[in-house]
Amino acid sequence: MENQTANGFHLPSDACQFPARNADGLAVPELPPEQRYAFDTHGWFLVPEVFSGGELKEMHEFAARLHHRPESIPESERGPLGGPLQKLIDHPLVVSLLNEFMAHPAVTSSECYGFSVESTSLFYRTPGMGSFGPHNGNGLLRFPGDVHYYNAFPGKGHSPHTRIVWELTEVKKGQGGTLLVTGSHKSVYTAPADIQNPVSDIWSTYGCPAGSLLFFTEALTHSATTWTNTDNDRIAIFNLYSPVDSGFAKLYRPHPELLAAMPPLRQTLFRDRYVVGNVNGASV
């Protein structure tokens, strides 16, 4: 490092600070080594019952209303960033994982997230809904610019396209939760024919109580599958994150009034798509 400062500049990681608090002022915890290892090795992990009680009920009711009676919600709030759902987009556990696996130090500061939101969706599934369709995988091999890749360096994993699912209702294992091929983000072969069978052992899945949180890298082979649980519908918020300079879909723009009402730190999740100087509160 001494030689580097004599001849040039430090790489930015020395000078940059990740947000230690989210936009609601809640402390961002350190990602536990067990979760960091699971995400890098398996490509996914689940945190059960992050929300429960009245807080979960409020989100559940808003999501159900959004599905059944959207016109009863003011236009600017009529989406998965509205009302009590907005806090999910930068929940401390979300920021904790994304700081480790997504944020680039050069476009991050204590006042600015180092990643962006690509999309946010409500999935409301009743029995019979949900179509099987394996996609992605082979994340080490994508061409530059396609965000469905995964980088692995000694001591550092990088998932530039990360999916975070909030299950607001119970998921019974094997009855319609997302299907995942564990470790396929680092696979270098395409899958055998059995990948087209949704009940094959090639697939991993999960069961969880309402209020649980699923993380997975979009570089992983994954699929929806048919919801067969007749005891409750699936109500899930699917949030997708991309780097600040690229993405699979077009730039996502929340309703302007909703965006303007967000705390400044949360607004940085929706900034224009480029690199140079694209950071608040830090010298570049």
Partner: protein, 104 residues
């Protein structure tokens, strides 16, 4: 000022056209610096173009919208929005980047 720059812009390529007669191509991933004036004191006159992959970009510069609108359609595709999914005319992006034929 001579400022060495080392880039992480693995997806960028620079083309510099001299107005006299030469063309130089280099990857923006290499360490580069702007040079001094010519020995005869003549200024450097060049056009420097920088290219990115279609799905990401380094700066937020875009030409004037009226200029883009006046370009032939194929040239306009050089200035399209940065995203990957289906961002090609008459192409088959999905099949070329994934082992599976499915929507994301």
């Amino acid at each position: 000022m001579w400022i060495p720059r080392c880039g992480r812009r693995a997806c960028s390529l620079r083309l510099a056209h001299s107005l006299h007669r030469s063309l130089i191509l280099f990857t923006e991933s290499m360490t580069i610096a702007s040079g001094g004036a010519n020995a005869d004191g003549a200024g450097r006159v060049c056009v420097s173009n920088l290219y990115n992959t279609v799905a990401s970009r380094w700066s937020n510069w875009v030409p004037h919208p009226r200029l883009v609108a006046a370009m032939p359609p194929k040239r306009q595709t050089l200035f399209r929005e940065p995203y990957a999914g289906g961002n090609v005319i008459n192409g088959d992006f999905e099949q070329r980047t994934s082992a599976y034929r499915a929507e994301i």
